[in-house]
C-alpha cells in the first residue's frame, strides 16, 4: 500500500479539522509563548496544565463531554489566581508552591477519574487528547478561547515586555505587577483550556514552551521570534498528522497524533540546539582567529 499524499489526507474533513486545530493553537501559543519564555514561566505553565486536570474530570463527571470545557475554564481561572498569589509571596517559595498546586491538583484529578468505569481509557483521553475527533463545535470553542488569550497578551504586551526586561523599571511606570501577572497567567490558562481537549493535558505544555525555545535558539531578532514559533508547530503538526494517518492506513496501527506531533516538535528543538551550538563554535573560532592576527 502506498503512503497517502499530504493534500489528499487534509481533504478529509476530520483531518482538516485536526490541522486547523493545530494551526489555531500554533498561532496562539506563538504569541503567548513569547512571554512564557521571557518571564521564565515554563514551570508555572506546567502547574497550570496540571491544575486544569481536575477541572476536566469534574466537568466530565457533571456534564459529560459538554461539561469538559466549562470545568476546565473554572479550574484554569482558579489556578491562575492561586499561582499569581503564590508568585508574589517569596516566603512561600514560588517553585515549592507551584509544585504543591501541581501535584495535589493532578492527584485529585486521578482520584476523581478513577471513579469512572472505563477509567484507563478516560485517563488516556484526558492526558493525550483526541486530535482526530475534534468536532466543528469544538473547533469554534478552541478558536474563541485562543482569541481571548491572544487579546489579553496583546493588550498588555508593553507591560509584559518591560516587566520581563527590568522589573524595577517596570514598577516605576506606575503599572500594577499583580494585575499584569494575573493577565498573563489567565492567558496561559485559557490557552491550555483551548489546547487540552485536542492535544491532551501533557502535550499542550509542549506546545506552549517548545516552539519559543526553538525560536530563541535560532534567532536573536525579536521580530522573528513569534513567526518562527508559529511555523515550527505548524510543520510538526502537518507532518505528525500525515505520519499518524499513514501509519494507520499502511500499518493498521494509530499512534496518538498529539504525541507524534510533540515528538516531531522536540526533534526540531534538537536540530535547533545543534544549529545553535555549531553557530556558537563558528563565532568562537572566528574570534580566536581574529585575536591571533
Amino acid at each position: 500500500m502506498d503512503a497517502v499524499s499530504l493534500l489528499e489526507i487534509f481533504q478529509l474533513p476530520f483531518m482538516a479539522r485536526a490541522l486547523a486545530t493545530v494551526a489555531i493553537l500554533a498561532v496562539a501559543s506563538g504569541v503567548v509563548g513569547l512571554f512564557i519564555s521571557f518571564r521564565d514561566l515554563e514551570f508555572v505553565s506546567d502547574g497550570l496544565v496540571h491544575a486544569v486536570f481536575p477541572g476536566l474530570v469534574v466537568g466530565n463527571l457533571l456534564g459529560g463531554v459538554a461539561g469538559v470545557l466549562p470545568g476546565a475554564v473554572v479550574a484554569a481561572l482558579a489556578a491562575a489566581v492561586l499561582l499569581t498569589v503564590l508568585g508574589r509571596r517569596p516566603r512561600l517559595g514560588s517553585d515549592a508552591g507551584i509544585a504543591v498546586v501541581l501535584t495535589s491538583a493532578f492527584s485529585l484529578g486521578v482520584v476523581l477519574v478513577s471513579r469512572q468505569e472505563n477509567y484507563v481509557s478516560q485517563l488516556e483521553e484526558l492526558l493525550f487528547g483526541r486530535l482526530l475527533t475534534v468536532t466543528p463545535a469544538q473547533l469554534v470553542q478552541i478558536a474563541v478561547v485562543a482569541a481571548v488569550a491572544i487579546a489579553l497578551v496583546l493588550l498588555t504586551a508593553r507591560s509584559q515586555l518591560i516587566r520581563a526586561f527590568d522589573p524595577d523599571g517596570f514598577r516605576a511606570t506606575g503599572a500594577r505587577p499583580a494585575l499584569v501577572d494575573l493577565v498573563l497567567n489567565i492567558a496561559v490558562a485559557l490557552l491550555i483550556v483551548a489546547g487540552v481537549q485536542a492535544l491532551g493535558n501533557l502535550m499542550v505544555l509542549a506546545l506552549l514552551t517548545v516552539p519559543m525555545a526553538i525560536s530563541r535558539l535560532v534567532t536573536r531578532r525579536f521580530a522573528w521570534l513569534v513567526p518562527l514559533a508559529v511555523l515550527t508547530p505548524l510543520l510538526a503538526g502537518a507532518a505528525g498528522l500525515w505520519l499518524t494517518f499513514t501509519a494507520s492506513v499502511v500499518g493498521g496501527h494509530t499512534p496518538s497524533p498529539g504525541a507524534v506531533v510533540v515528538l516531531l516538535l522536540v526533534g526540531l528543538y534538537g536540530l535547533a540546539v545543534l544549529w545553535s551550538l555549531a553557530r556558537r563554535r563558528g563565532a568562537r573560532s572566528r574570534v580566536s582567529s581574529g585575536g591571533a592576527r
Binding site: 508593553r158 518591560i162 527590568d166 524595577d168 514598577r171 516605576a172 525579536f222 521570534l225
Partner: protein, 271 residues
C-alpha cells in the same frame, strides 16, 4: 530635549520636599529623619554605605517603597501624581540581559507610560528615541542587542530610557557602580548636561569624588539622614566618618564591589 528650568514651578516651590520623612518595607523603616528641600536644578548626591537607605529613599520619592512617616511632596503632589515627570534609572542587577531586544527597543520602553498599551510609537516617538540614544553617546549602537553592550553602555542605555520622556526630576540609583573610566566619564558628562538643562537630579552613590564632580548638594545617610547641604558644607571629614563608621567609602572609579580602596578617612584629604 527642552530645557526644564523655564517650566519649573515657582522658584520657591521645591521639586522634592521632605520633612522628617521615613521610608521602608513591610512597616519597618529602613531610613528615617529625612528633611530636605530640593529645588529645580539642584543635583543631590545621596551618600552612605550599603544598606544605609539610599535606594529606599529613591524608591520613596517614586512611591515604590512605603512612606512610613513625616511629609513628602514631589513636584507639588504625591509621588504617583508626579510619576510621568520623573525619570528613573534602577540598579542594574535585576535586568534580564538575555532578552533578545535591541538598545532602541529598551529605550522605547521609556515612552510606554505616555503611549499606553496600544498607541503606536510613530515617527515623532522614534525621533525622540534616536535623540535620547545620541544624547548618551550611543548613536552607532542603536540597533545592537542590549545584552551584547558593555555594562557601561547598558547603564547609558537605561539612562537614555529614563530621559526619553523629558523628565523634570531624574533619579539615578548607583549609576556608576562597576563602570570603567571612559563610561564613568561619559555618564558624568551626561549628568552635568542634565544639570545645565535645569533638571533636578537625585543620585545614590558611595563615590565621594562623583559628588564633588557632578553635584550641588550632598545628603549623608546611614539608616537616618545625618546631614544635608551644599557639597562644600556637607562633605566634612567628621560627618563623612560618622556616616561610614570607618567603613570603606569609594574615592574614585575603582570598579566593582569588593575592590574598595582606601577608606573614608583616607579620602578626606581631598575634601
Amino acid at each position: 530635549m527642552s530645557a526644564v528650568a523655564g517650566n519649573a514651578p515657582d522658584d520657591a516651590t521645591p521639586v522634592v520636599e521632605l520633612d522628617d520623612a521615613a521610608f521602608g518595607y513591610a512597616g519597618t523603616p529602613s531610613v528615617h529623619g529625612v528633611t530636605a528641600r530640593i529645588h529645580a536644578g539642584d543635583s543631590v548626591a545621596l551618600i552612605g554605605p550599603n544598606g544605609s537607605g539610599k535606594s529606599t529613599l529613591l524608591g520613596g520619592v517614586l512611591g515604590l517603597t512605603e512612606h512610613l512617616g513625616g511629609t513628602l511632596r514631589v513636584l507639588g503632589g504625591t509621588p504617583r501624581q508626579a510619576l510621568s515627570r520623573i525619570g528613573y534609572l534602577p540598579q542594574a542587577d535585576r535586568r534580564d540581559r538575555e532578552l533578545p531586544i535591541t538598545l532602541r527597543q529598551a529605550v522605547t520602553m521609556g515612552l510606554y507610560r505616555e503611549l499606553g498599551p496600544l498607541r503606536p510609537v510613530g515617527r515623532a516617538g522614534r525621533a525622540r528615541v534616536t535623540e535620547a540614544i545620541e544624547a548618551v553617546g550611543l548613536g552607532q549602537h542603536a540597533g545592537a542587542q542590549f545584552g551584547e553592550l558593555s555594562g557601561g553602555q547598558q547603564q547609558r542605555g537605561i539612562l537614555a530610557r529614563a530621559l526619553v520622556a523629558d523628565p523634570e526630576l531624574v533619579l539615578l540609583d548607583e549609576p556608576f557602580n562597576g563602570l570603567d573610566r571612559p563610561n564613568r566619564d561619559s555618564l558624568l558628562v551626561t549628568v552635568n548636561r542634565l544639570r545645565a538643562e535645569g533638571r533636578t537630579i537625585l543620585v545614590s552613590t558611595h563615590d565621594l569624588e562623583l559628588a564633588r564632580e557632578a553635584c550641588s548638594h550632598v545628603m549623608l545617610l546611614n539608616g537616618e539622614m545625618l546631614a544635608f547641604g551644599t557639597v562644600a558644607e556637607t562633605l566634612e571629614p567628621e560627618l563623612v566618618r560618622a556616616t561610614f563608621h570607618g567603613a570603606p567609602a569609594e574615592t574614585g572609579p575603582h570598579g566593582d564591589d569588593g575592590h574598595h580602596h582606601g577608606d573614608a578617612a583616607l579620602s578626606l584629604g581631598a575634601v
